[in-house]
Structures are given as structure tokens and as C-alpha cells.
């Protein structure tokens, strides 16, 4: 049955993936223990080999995926515990066994690397062709990596012959990782979808590792037009002998090319086969080693995803490899024993998924005190445009505000893209409010009177969500949100002073426009305190007529004391959300209107074509007024009635 043979094949190919991976930690360890100024040639050689081992692991995964298997990479069985014994088993005769260790760059280490990459021709005995049935599952069949792949190849051929190529190569092509997913070194990632491409991939692995048959050179120059390069075994032998191969050398001869300088002592003296547990709990070496293992295991998780349907994740793994390198370098700088001097190193241990934290975001330390001096952080004071001075002092202020509770949908479109969200009160309602202001600005050259109306939506900055006090509408109007996070987003600000319009626009980005008002409000100098606040917003010159007329009558209503000031006003400055506080320096009477009191505050829309008129209609709908708040600043001086002295 094909399915049974396939299971056998999956096991071999999974073993291939594991075998390729198992070479990477020892090669990387040797690489990292070479200092930046030392053994440049050896560094270059080991680096080139380790990159190609990563390619081999990718190719083995592609073959496994092509035949319908799935590589298991994020798995405790995937990661060897170094030192690990590699046991190459021929069908007959003696095993070839040796121990692979994590060692600093050293002669002993290079000898192990030579054992790993050993070509068949250099083995003392010649061997018979394989017989599938004779091979045990758990050990590596064949005496060399090349022979092992040869066995896989024979198996594939046999199965294709018996069951048809398309039944053997039944894997989903979308699982293949290709050159578009990042690789840049010797050879090239090949996608596998039939017997030929599978054989090409295995030939690439074997030639890069052991050389083309009877040859020291790998096939990259012939296949990919890359520079001439000897195979891994011979590259390591160059290091061992301190001499490069050259044209004409053969596998059995020693290299005869240019000499290379090797300084076996210029190495970071890492303890062999480091484990996180070797280092005392709480020590920097322990912490870094643990972090390394955690990241390494997360990295295997990302690779697992890469080879199981998400090839784009390869890019993410590249960044993680850099992180692993930096952590390794940090570990190799930690001395763990003085005499002989030894340093820590990367342990490459597997951490089970359940024990892993999510990949750590860079930690931000919380300082003991916060510097607020100018330039200390990214939050400078907003600039003040030329010609303005802040704060602005009001020498008198008359103000009447009306509040409406409206459905949230009515206000939402007005807040899109502002960085603000509507404040929602207890019944799920948003609040629209407008207020009329009549104020005096006192300057050196005299005073000016300004009148304006703000049409506002009560809102909260997105960045401050959760920072406001939780208050009811009533509490808000009375002033209980002392966080002052809930503030006014200004939809329109008609105003009759060009200077105030310029200030509003340049300082706060207010949507301000020039127009005029008709006003009738209570005044101590008027007809006594009538309690009637009436104003009409006239349309500007280009949209004549009235925008609206508001009539407020609070006579005989019971006032409650509001301490709403300071009132938060939001706006835009230099493209950013900006906040400001409007301070009214006394308590203000507020009046909550019952349903049957809606005639105490009426708004009649006029016939101006100005968009504010339409927005008033949209924002208020048929909502009745919910509250009124008024303020008239106290006179600062009086001149009394005359008398006869």
C-alpha cells in the first residue's frame, strides 16, 4: 500500500529535516565564538556552510511537503540535546558513530564537522547498495548524509515506478518555500513538485556537503553561475590544514592552494555544550540563556508555520535569527569561570509551548521620576503663532449654554478622523451643546467686544479612553468630571471679530467664520433681570438670512450650582489634536429641564444656506433641550445714584 510506504518516507524525510537542522547549532556556535577581528577566513568559511545548511533544511522540508507530509519543527523531539550521538547505520557492517557537541571554534570542533560532512569516497570501506527492508527506522540509514539521501532517492524512484509519480508527489504546491521567500547565499531554494525536482534538490544538498562525485567542488558554479567553491567537507578541511584547495586538487589529496591564517587561540573560550541550568539562578548568564532558549523555540514555531502553509513567515524568522545572534554575542561576553577563563554561550534548548511567553515586546523601563523640562520628551508645548499671547484674559463675560441629549449615530460622522470619540452617558446618549458668548477683551489701546457661538459635541480623545471620571449627564453638567477629559469638539464657531477668528483658527484650528448676531440678554443695566436670553446667529455675507434663533427663558426656574469650569476644549494645531481649558472663575447656575419645560429653550432654524444651519438640524434632530447653564460676570465697579450733599 502506498500509504504505508509513504509513512515510511515521511519518517525518513522528517529525519532529513532534523539532521540538517542538527548541524546548525554546532556550526553557529563555532562561528559566534570567533571575534570580529580574528580568523576572518575561517569565519567566512563557516558562515558560508551554515547558510547552506539552512538551505538544506528548507529543501528537505520542500521534499517532505511535496510528497504530502508535513514537517514537525516546533516539537521537543526536533531539537537534539547536545552532546548528541549521530549513528550512521549501513545495511551491513559496522555503524559509524560520533558525538556532535557545541564547542567554540577549535580543532576538535572542526574534526566533528568533518565527520558530519564526510563523503562516501573517504570512508575506509565500500558499501553495498541499500535494501529498503533492512533499514531500522530510528537511526540514520547509510554511512554518510549522501548515502542517506541516496536511500531516499531510491525509495522515491521505487514508489513512483509502482504507484505513479503524481500519486507520490501529491502535496499541495502552496506549501513550497521558494527563492521569493528570502535566501541569499550559495545555491538556490528549489521548489519540489515531482521526482526530477526532488532529485535536483537532493543533489544540491549532497554536492554542497560532500562535493560532486569524486570531486571537491560543489555544483553551484555549474548550476547557478555562482563563484567556484569547494564542498563543506573540503571547506572544513581547508580550515584544519590552514590552506585553500585549488584547481587540480582531488578529494584524496590535501589542499595545495594559498595558505590561510588560523589562530586557534583567538577564540572566545565558551564552556562546551552550555545549558541554561548550568548558570546560577538570577545570574545574567542564566537570564540571557533562558531568553535565548525562549526565543529559539519561538523561532522554531515560526519556521514550523513557514513550512506548514505560511511561507511568508520566513521573513519574520530572519529578524529572529538576528536577535538570536545578538543574544549569543551577549552570552559569549559573560565570564563564568576565571581560571581557566570560560564564558557562557547559546544553549539551543527547547522550551515547551505552554512555558513560552508571547514574543516579548521591547521592555520600557518605568523611570523613578519623570523629567518634564522642555525637550525632555516627545511632548513639547504647542507653539503660539506670532502676534498672540496666552492666556487671554476676559474682562467681562456673558454666556448661555443649552445641552441636548441625542443618539450617538447623529454625532459620530462629525468626529471621524479627529482623534476624538463621542462621550456616551448613562442612557447611551451623546450630548450636543451650543453656547453664546459675549465678552470684553481689554488691551492697551482700549477694549473690544466679541460675540461668538460654539456648536459642540462632548467628546473624549482616543488616547485618553478610560481616563475620564464615570459620570452621569447630570453630574457632568454640574461639574463632577474633574479629570476634565470630557471636552468640547467644535463643529462650528460663528464669530463677529476677525481677530478672534484668527486666534481661534491659528491656535486651535477652530472652524470659525465671520458673521453677526442679534442679541437680547439680561443685564443689570437693562430692564432688570428678565431671565430671558435670546440671540440670533445671522448668516455670513455669502449665505444671507438667519442660521437660527435661540430663546432661553429661565425665569422662576430653580437653579442648581454648576462648577463645570475649567471647560475642556479640543482642537487641532500643527495637524495634531490639541486641548485647552476655558476657565470661568465663578460657579454658574444650571437648570435641568423636564419634558414639559422644553419651551424654556427653543431653537428656530432660519433660512441661511450656511452649512451650520444644516448641521444644527442634523445634530439636534427633534431632541428637546435637556439643560441650560448661564453666566453673567459680576460688575467690577458701579457708579451709584446721585444724592444731595
Amino acid at each position: 500500500m502506498l500509504v504505508n510506504y509513504k509513512n515510511q518516507l515521511f519518517k525518513y524525510l522528517q529525519m532529513a529535516v532534523e539532521l540538517e537542522h542538527s548541524t546548525i547549532p554546532p556550526y553557529l556556535t563555532a562561528l559566534f565564538t570567533i571575534g570580529p577581528d580574528d580568523n576572518m577566513e575561517a569565519w567566512q568559511i563557516i558562515r558560508s556552510v551554515v547558510m547552506e545548511e539552512m538551505l538544506h533544511m528548507t529543501l528537505a522540508c520542500n521534499i517532505l511537503n511535496a510528497v504530502g507530509g508535513s514537517p514537525a519543527i516546533d516539537d521537543p523531539r526536533f531539537v537534539p540535546s547536545y552532546p548528541v550521538e549521530l549513528d550512521f547505520k549501513p545495511p551491513k557492517g559496522k555503524d559509524r558513530k560520533f558525538e556532535v557537541q557545541l564547542l567554540p571554534f577549535s580543532k576538535k570542533g572542526i574534526d566533528i564537522f568533518l565527520d558530519i560532512e564526510m563523503p562516501k569516497e573517504l570512508l575506509p570501506t565500500n558499501l553495498m547498495a541499500f535494501n529498503l527492508e533492512q533499514v531500522k527506522e530510528m537511526d540514520i540509514p547509510g554511512l554518510t548524509i549522501g548515502e542517506f539521501y541516496h536511500l531516499v532517492e531510491l525509495t522515491l524512484e521505487k514508489l513512483c515506478h509502482e504507484y505513479g509519480e503524481e500519486n507520490v508527489f501529491s502535496g499541495d504546491p502552496a506549501l513550497q518555500v521558494g527563492p521569493e521567500h528570502y535566501y541569499g547565499s550559495g545555491g538556490e531554494i528549489l521548489k519540489v513538485h515531482n521526482l526530477k525536482t526532488a532529485k535536483d534538490a537532493m543533489e544540491l544538498i549532497v554536492e554542497q556537503g560532500e562535493g560532486a562525485p569524486e570531486d571537491i567542488w560543489d555544483g553551484d558554479h555549474t548550476h547557478f553561475g555562482q563563484e567556484e567553491e569547494v564542498a563543506h567537507y573540503f571547506r572544513f578541511n581547508e580550515i584544519k590544514k590552514g590552506q585553500y584547495y585549488q584547481e587540480g586538487d582531488d578529494p584524496k589529496s590535501t589542499p595545495t592552494g594559498p595558505k590561510m591564517n588560523i589562530d586557534w587561540d583567538a577564540v572566545k573560550p565558551m564552556i562546551p555544550n552550555p545549558k541554561a541550568m548550568d548558570f546560577p539562578p538570577g545570574s545574567p548568564a542564566r537570564e540571557l540563556a533562558t531568553e535565548f532558549n525562549m526565543l529559539y523555540s519561538q523561532f522554531l514555531g515560526v519556521l514550523h508555520d513557514t513550512f506548514n502553509g505560511q511561507p511568508d513567515k520566513m521573513r519574520q524568522s530572519v529578524g529572529m535569527m538576528w536577535q538570536l545572534k545578538h543574544l549569543s554575542e551577549a552570552l559569549l561576553n559573560i565570564e563564568v569561570s576565571e581560571n581557566p577563563r570560560q564564558v557562557a554561550g547559546p544553549p539551543f534548548e527547547y522550551v515547551h509551548k505552554s512555558l513560552r511567553k508571547e514574543q516579548k515586546q521591547p521592555t520600557v523601563a518605568i523611570p523613578k521620576a519623570y523629567s518634564v523640562k522642555p525637550g525632555a520628551g516627545p511632548n513639547p508645548l504647542p507653539t503660539i503663532p506670532e502676534g498672540f499671547k496666552l492666556p487671554f484674559f476676559y474682562s467681562s463675560l456673558y454666556n448661555v449654554a443649552v445641552f441636548y441629549e441625542v443618539p450617538v449615530e447623529q454625532v459620530q460622522p462629525y468626529l471621524e478622523g479627529t482623534g476624538l470619540r463621542p462621550a456616551i452617558f448613562e442612557e447611551g446618549q451623546a450630548v450636543v451643546t451650543y453656547n453664546f458668548q459675549h465678552y470684553t477683551g481689554q488691551f492697551g489701546a482700549g477694549s473690544s467686544i466679541t460675540q461668538e457661538v460654539e456648536l459642540n459635541i462632548l467628546s473624549i480623545p482616543e488616547s485618553l479612553y478610560g481616563h475620564s471620571a464615570e459620570v452621569s449627564f447630570r453630574q457632568f453638567v454640574l461639574g463632577d468630571d474633574q479629570t476634565k477629559v470630557i471636552g468640547n469638539h467644535r463643529v462650528w464657531v460663528p464669530c463677529d471679530s476677525p481677530l478672534a477668528i484668527k486666534a481661534g483658527k491659528e491656535l486651535f484650528g477652530e472652524p470659525k467664520f465671520l458673521t453677526s448676531f442679534e442679541v437680547d440678554m439680561p443685564s443689570l443695566n437693562g430692564e432688570g433681570d428678565t431671565g430671558k436670553w435670546n440671540f440670533t446667529i445671522k448668516g455670513p455675507d455669502d449665505a444671507p438670512g438667519d442660521i437660527c434663533t435661540v430663546k432661553v427663558d429661565i425665569s422662576n426656574l430653580e437653579p442648581e450650582t454648576s462648577y463645570m469650569s475649567p471647560i475642556t476644549e479640543y482642537g487641532k494645531h500643527q495637524g495634531k489634536l490639541i486641548g485647552c481649558r476655558w476657565n470661568i472663575l465663578q460657579p454658574m447656575p444650571a437648570f435641568f429641564l423636564r419634558k414639559n419645560q422644553s419651551d424654556r429653550a427653543t431653537l428656530t432654524l432660519g433660512n441661511s444656506k450656511h452649512p451650520m444651519r444644516m448641521d444644527l438640524e442634523k445634530l439636534l434632530g427633534d431632541a428637546p433641550p435637556a439643560a441650560v447653564r448661564v453666566y453673567a460676570s459680576a460688575p467690577v465697579a458701579t457708579q451709584g445714584r446721585a444724592y444731595f450733599p
Binding site: M40, S48, Y182, G184, A365, I366, K368, A376, L577
Partner: protein, 605 residues
Amino acid sequence: MASSIKYDVAIVGAGISGSIVAKELAKQGYSVLVLEAGTAKELSYGKYRDYLHHYYKNLIKIPNSPYPNNPNAPQPLVTDAAPIAPDKPDTTGYFVQKGPTPFQSSYTRSQGGTTLHWLGTCLRMLPTDFKEKTLYGHGRDWPVSYREMMPYYRMAEGEIGVSADVEEQQFHGLQFEPGYVYPMRKIPQSYLDQKFGSWINGMEFKYEGERHKVNVVSTPQGRNSTPNPKYNNGEGYQPRGAVGADDLGQRCEGNSACVPICPVQAKYNALKTLKNAVDHGVEVRSQCVVSSIDWDRSSGKVNHLSYKRYKSTDSAEYVEETATASLYVLAAHAVENAKLMLASDMESTSKLVGKNLMDHPVLLTWALAPEAIGAFRGPGSTSGIPSLRDGAFRANRSGFRMEIGNWGWNWPTGAPYAQLATAVSSDKLFGKELRHHMFTLVQKMHRFGFLIEQEPQESNCVTIDPKYKDKLGNFRPVIQYDLNDYEKDGMLAARELSRQIYQKSGCTDYTEYDSSRPGFLKWKGEQLWWQGAGHLAGTHVMGDSKDSSVVSPDQRCWDYPNLFLVGCGNMPTVGTSNPTLTMTALTFKAVESISRELKSLSITA
């Protein structure tokens, strides 16, 4: 004796243009000699590692910091420039600067030339850039059109190994042959590019009654990325890694050090082409500074090159030798080519040798983004905003290309080191608080660079003066340089565009120009500050007539029939693109004419 051999071609300079000419002609079988003023002799990875170590150890990380100064072949440094007092030339650096404005760009005198420290931007010039005089009444027209340049652009993109997606590059009338793809897919745009794109794409820049749609577009780069399997009719492309260590640098690794030196050579440098040239049998002689060209006064033909071969950089000891060839090519750099011709008394009929010196003055603006945008990651720049490169406004003011920097405020302020120094020495921050401070600040840093097109003007020029010579007795370039109103008006528009973009994106503008630094100026009430881009061009301009140009469209000197000039010096205008790609394309065009000339002289390979 070197002088006894007659080569088919002798080339001065082993930078990108010299290496291309050498390699292409050697491939055709011609004997080629390259004379190089710099010290590097071997094309090995070890030599390159020396540059890296020099860079690591140098405290000031300017573009020439990895490439040691050599008194026998001195090179300008960007740190040389200082404000110039009237009538008192500034002689601090290699250049003698007569002003009125200090010229602020540098180049590298070594094997590989200035491509050792270039950023790798590979934008084509726009079709309109080739006929600016006709269209806008400014600059000069080229004697070739964009259409005629297209095949050479293709060769240049193949030689350098450019990464870009062709469908994103078709703006302002830029066309490509149907089915053309760049050798490699585009370098992924940085997170910061993507953020800016999401904030501002589609916004309108309003200026003087004009409206320009603004979009962030990925920039073609001479930097290894994923090869495009469709390249070259499905043949694909094999990325070239480091010289002497080919498996290194086959992909950009995001080391974020492109300028002044890519540690893995994923970024193209001319050593790659030079290595190829040497493999094809080109002879490169280093430490040979050509000091004069010997020529026949009646025929105008060059007889030989005289050069000074020095023993070491420690002494000014040298021997004089000559080199003889059938054809000569000056590829020493826009300034050095002009200088060498002037030193050899080789004026041209047009009197334009050394004139029309151009650069791209770069206006920098910087800001803090409203959130962390991952500054200091990836290549120096992966995107730009091409919207203002062309338009009817070029009748009134310069166009410009807007580059989006990936390395925060590094260029204008020396970030992050400068901010770190301030935090430690002035704010007395240390430990966790210091880390927190830097972490929040640095991640939000953002910079724009506006490369303002400079017009060719005869008053901006390279001359020589016997008063000013270097250690070997060779002339030092004397530079006169200024910006005109057209360029300054372009700069004003650039400053306003930066403001509108900051407004739209919610960035806080931190641009502040120091009036004591070179390049500071006030124009129409606005403070401005520009830097050099290292895009030196125009000093031996190409044109259709002997009276108005130094070289013909074949890039042969009108007045000296066996002398060819290559490099940015031939460019009549610089447009709004970094010039290397266009210069490389022109060089491939020159190779065709040199090869034709060799054949017509019955010189067979």
C-alpha cells in the same frame, strides 16, 4: 617598463564608469589599462574589512569615514565646508572654495570610487528632463531623448542590479519596454514608509494656486533583493554578493549602514564590476595619479598620459611614468576630469571645461511622528514622493524629489548620538530613565530630504590655480559655487510641502536651522538650510555642437579625437533623480561609440 606597452584603451579612474568601460571592452577582447589614484591594490574581502574597521573606529561617521585620507590623492570631505568670507578663498580641505556659497559635496578617490559610499538610489530621469530648455525655458536640452536612453537604462539596471517593481515606477510619463522587469523585486518599504503612506497618500499639496496629489512611492535601489524570475525574458538574475566573499551580501540584511559602507556589500559598489573587469584581463595600476595628458597641438590627438606612481601614503615620493594607448578615457570623476583637462591645457572650443558644476542641494526637514514609526531600521531610504519632480511650475522654480529618510534625524542632527549626549550631559539622565527617554524619542524621529534640481550655470565652476597644489604637486580643484533664485524658490515650495505633510500626518515639526552652518540662507522671509548630495555633474557637458559643449553625443571630445570622457560630467542637466543610474546608462552608450571607434581604427581584439 610599463610605458613600453601600447594598450588599446587607457582609462583614468577605477570607479563605476571606468570599471564598466574597462570590463565591457575587455570582454570584447581589447587590451585595457586602468590607472587609479587610490591605494587599494587587491580586490579582496580582507581589504573591504579594513574599510569596515576604519569606519567602526572613526568617531565622525561622514560618507568618507571608512576610506582613509590619502595626501597623495586627497579627497574632499563634507566636514571641510564652512562659510566663506568675501575675497578670501577657504583652503581648509582639498577643494579651494571661492564661494560665494560653500560647495558641500564629497567623493571618494579609491578603487570603486564614490559608489563605495553611495546610498544606491537608482531612479531614471523623467522624459521631460531631457528637454527642459524647450519645455520650461530653463537648463539645457540633452542631445538624446529618454526614448533613445531606454536600452542603456536597461543595461545600467542590469549592471548595478536594481531592485524595484516596474508597475510602481510609471509616473510623470516614465515608460518601460513592454514586459520589462527590474533584475530584482523591490526592497520592502520600511514600516515608516507604510505609516506615512497611510497618513498622507492622496492628499493635495496646495501652493501658489497649484494642486499636486502627494503619494509615497517605493524607490528603485542598487541593493540586492529577491531576484525576479521574469528578468531577462525569464532567465532570472543572480545577485552578486561581496567581492571576494560571494555568498555574503546576496540579500540586503537591513544592517542600516548603507552610507558610508554596507558591511556585506548587498549594496552595489563598483568593486563588483572592477572584479569582473580584472577577471576579463584588465590591468589595474593603483597609486598612479594621472597628472597631465600629453597631446599633439596640430591634430589634437592625445600622445600619452603622464602619471605619478607613489610608493606609500606616508611620503610624497613618486616616480613619473607614462601610458600609451590608441584611445583614452577619462573616468576620474566630474571634478577630476575637468581638473585634469585644465591642467593639461586642454580647453575646448566651447570654453565649457569645468563650467556648469551642478549638485542637488538637499533641503532637510525633520519632525516627530505622533507614534513610534520604527526609525533607524532598514536601508537609508526605501521610498520617496515623486509628485513635485515635474510640472508646469518648472518654468518658475526648480522641481524636486522628496526622499523619505529611514534613519531619523541622523543626517541633520547627528541623531541618535547627539540626543544621547544632550540627555546625559545637560539633562543628567542615566540608567532606566535615560533608556526610556531615548526609546520614546528615537522611535518617533522622522526626516525628509528634498533634492532640489540645480540649473547648469557657467559661473558655478571648477578651475585651477598654480597657487594651490597637493603633496604630489598636482592641482587642487578651485570651486566657485552659488544657488540661484529659481533653485531657492524651489526650496521654498519644498519647505511648505513639508509643513503641509506634517499637518496632515499629525507630525510635530522640529526643523530648526542653525544660521552658523554652511548652507544656511534666508529667502523671502523664510529660513532655509541645504546640504550637498554628492551628485557632482555637468563639468564637461555633452551636446550637439562643438560651440556649446565639450563632448559629442558619442561622449568623445569635440576637440580631441582620441579622447573620450565618461561620468556625470557629461550630463547637461541633473533633473530630479540621483545621477548614478543615468550616468551608468550614458557610459554603456559611450562603450558602444568607443568600440565603434576601435573598429574603425582597424584595431581588432
